[in-house]
Assembly symmetry: C2
Homo-oligomer: 298 residues x 2
């Protein structure tokens, strides 16, 4: 059996079945961050994201943007749990023939964003590697009553998003600003039932919420906000690395969020019972069933 | 300027000059772990280690041992700070044609060691990659008064080590047991002034202690414990990935440690003033100057 036969998510499930953690782990593998006991009022968040040349960026891409992205994807994970990023360590696999000037650019992209988000870069590891590899591990903090997970969606919840979707590959996957302010605004002022950042694609990441929450959903195709770079509606539904927030709230909270008129939060659907599955009402008002399709590594 | 012109450690220094951290960081880059504020009595330790196919292991090596090593090197870093490992996240870059059975072996090596050391595997990231890459980031905890850093060596300190040195490449680099028990025994019962784990080579890692402590040292060549796999004395001094502890203590503490007769701690030299540099008394009782020579990635 090859990796492509079970896929990235099949492999993750295979691992999860073998892990036994102690009671200091509030939430292990299966969410945007691990959630760990910290003190009476706060949890610690812990996440890592590896980006690799030829997969997550091309050899010809700006190294400053690559360094920026390496850190930004982890900030987005902390944001999805409504936390505040604090510390990061950076493991670098660098090709031997790389110029110091190139590594400086990579570091500048990463350090500048760390400064912007007040994140301490507290250590790392450097290794020789054929292809450029960057793995950032990040620690964050979240007040216990503000933590958002994928598992809290309830039938009747309204599904909402930040920003617009599609065509991230044309630039947004490098230049996005992690939705940290938006996440904190939401959790500071409203009751958010579940949240995730869209890294694998809108449908697939909604699928993660549905799986963890044992729920179904209906999406209103005509309400999905399309970015200018989106090829079409299908692209908006499947495009990975959009790094927008996808969250669910009660109907009452949704109307309060819309009335707040801070940031641009949009309604795109509704959480349904699990038996409903995941369906979309398309532009012709027809229901169709959706598969959780998006980015898979294998 | 290429990476080989400034080397791994030149690059690390270049980065360090650009990082500004806040007061929650007790010790950032430059030690075995980052040391972070946690609570009144404890610090948090944070470290990462990336291992890459073709650099840290061969394509033909046992994947169970590779998985084990990926976790063991980070445990060794936590041990060097006299801490207790708690949680880890694992980033995996996997070749697309890898068999699921092979990934299972890799996971088994890693999970078995995690169980042995009571470490929670709380998350990770999986990516496609040409070569197998594993980056483990680990969190640990250490009582404030038990923390050991590289920077505390004082002229007159006795330099001691665990175990024996040389020829690690013949198997020890895979099969070593991180010296966690020994580190905790030392810090629970004695006053340890400085400590490091030998990953780059005995001389080079002693060099890290001397640099951080602004000190010099003399090594007694005839006292360096040679492993059976050591080619010769030079090999014992330079062999990387031995993962033994190298630590310094006052003369009084050293004699107490030796009298304790728990584990096998050996004296190998003495800390001197910085102006002395690093010298070795060889088997003919001749002094010679040593360069900090060991493993460099570039």
């Amino acid at each position: 059996m090859r990796l492509k036969d079970i896929g990235e998510f099949g492999l993750i499930k295979r691992f999860q079945g073998k892990i036994k953690n102690d009671s200091s782990v509030i939430k292990g593998s299966g969410d945007d961050c691990a959630v760990l006991k910290l003190d009476d009022d706060n949890y610690q968040l812990f996440t890592c994201d590896m980006i690799i040349e030829g997969v997550d960026f091309a050899k010809t891409d700006s190294l400053k943007l690559v360094g920026r992205k390496a850190l930004a994807v982890s900030i987005s994970d902390i944001a999805a749990c409504a936390g505040i990023p604090k510390h990061a360590v950076v493991a670098l696999g660098l090709p031997k023939n790389m110029r110091v000037r190139q590594v400086d650019l990579l570091a500048k992209g990463l350090f500048d964003l760390a400064k912007e988000f007040k994140i301490n870069i507290v250590g790392g590891d450097i290794s020789a590697s054929d292809k450029l590899v960057i793995d950032v591990s990040m620690l964050g903090k979240v007040e216990k009553d503000k933590l958002c997970l994928r598992s809290g969606a309830k039938a009747g919840d309204i599904i909402m998003v930040t920003g617009s979707f599609g065509g991230s590959i044309k630039g947004k996957h490098f230049k996005f600003t992690p939705r940290l302010k938006e996440a904190r605004f939401l959790t500071d002022n409203f009751k958010i039932n579940s949240m995730i950042d869209v890294s694998d694609g809108l449908i697939q990441d909604l699928g993660h919420i549905l799986e963890q929450s044992r729920a179904g959903a209906v999406l209103y195709g005509s309400l999905i906000p399309l970015s200018r770079q989106a090829k079409n509606a299908q692209d908006a539904l499947c495009s990975g690395e959009e790094f927008e927030l996808l969250f669910t709230v009660s109907r009452v909270q949704a109307s309060k969020i819309i009335k707040s008129a801070r940031y641009s939060f949009k309604v795109i659907g509704e959480i349904m019972p699990k038996s409903f599955g995941l369906r979309i009402i398309d532009y012709k008002n027809k229901y169709s069933k959706l598969k959780f399709k998006g980015w898979e590594h294998f």
